[in-house]
Symmetry: C2
Subunit: 191 residues, 2 copies
């Protein structure tokens, strides 16, 4: 497995993304930048969009994977935020090259996984109507992804640590509270 070539492509891509917007980057540039053949690029990725997806997915995976409790999930977020900060211009260029819709789709995908994990951990022992459960998750998903979207849109100024810690506390507390209310309504309905 020449895992390393693929990594080199990603690195070259991030490097270029720190210099210019996505649509100014060509396959040839990437390829020249890490000294491989153009076909090798196409062997690993369908096109530049696929490469972008791969990079983002990789980051996402690093956030979500193996982070099952709230604390380690926070760690994951902080890691990701620092990655974003150290590639500020890259994130900026992605943010401005990709449509809002696509970005939100990505972010909500992550947020959903995150909230769902949190909820799973919290309401494991409780009974909550599926509908309420989904509604609540949906709400928090939007809140979370919206926050991240705005954070990037506003130039990633807020401190990741502080922001994420307090967001984490908020989530942990209010998700369980909301779930509880949902449970009570579910009980009421049943009577």
């Amino acid at each position: 497995m020449a895992q390393f070539t693929k990594k080199a492509i990603v690195e070259a891509f991030l490097k270029l993304l720190n210099e210019k917007p996505l649509d100014k980057i060509t396959v040839k540039e990437i390829v020249d930048n890490c000294g491989i053949n153009r076909n090798t690029f196409y062997y690993h990725f369908e096109d530049i969009r696929a490469l972008l997806t791969f990079v983002i997915d990789g980051e996402v995976e690093r956030v979500v994977a193996k982070h099952n409790d709230v604390e380690s999930l926070e760690e994951g977020f902080i890691e990701a935020a620092h990655f974003a900060l150290s590639n500020k211009r890259a994130v900026y260029h992605i943010y401005n090259s990709v449509s809002r819709e696509e970005l939100e789709r990505y972010l909500k995908g992550i947020a959903e996984e995150v909230v769902r994990r949190l909820a799973e951990g919290l309401d494991a022992a409780r009974e909550v109507a599926e509908l309420d459960r989904e509604l609540i998750i949906h709400f928090y998903k939007c809140g979370l992804s919206g926050m991240v979207m705005d954070w990037v849109g506003e130039g990633m100024k807020a401190e990741p640590e502080q922001m994420i810690r307090s967001l984490g506390a908020l989530l942990e507390g209010s998700v369980s509270a909301a779930m509880e209310k949902g449970r009570q309504r579910a009980i009421k309905k049943r009577l």
Copy 2:
């Protein structure tokens, strides 16, 4: 060119060398550490010794290559010294795992190239008897390699910048002076 696999091997090796002495490191460990097949190691290197040589040679090359004048040569040295400092334990483990003879052979190889370049630049226009010239180069070669040897042996405490700058000045001045004396003796002899 899977240049990247070879690099990964080197990195894994350096990482391990930061943890334990050379003779405690196995091929399997290296190979496991970067997720490749054991044969892939043997495809790139004959054995661990060859890998060690490769690593050192690579460093040497970075020092000597493209550094033709005294100033840029100093830069090269400082770079190498910083590499050594950031891999302090690795250098320490190499230092203690390899025989003094071998180490000196390496160091003198580098030193010779360095001094010879310096001398070439300085006595290009002068006439110096070959014998004297070689003697002088030999002397400075030993001085230089000995200094480095001791620097490592004493735990690389001295500041690289300062050390190398003053050593550079000393070399530049005294090599040319020595060469001059050599030239005068050569003239004397001729009469």
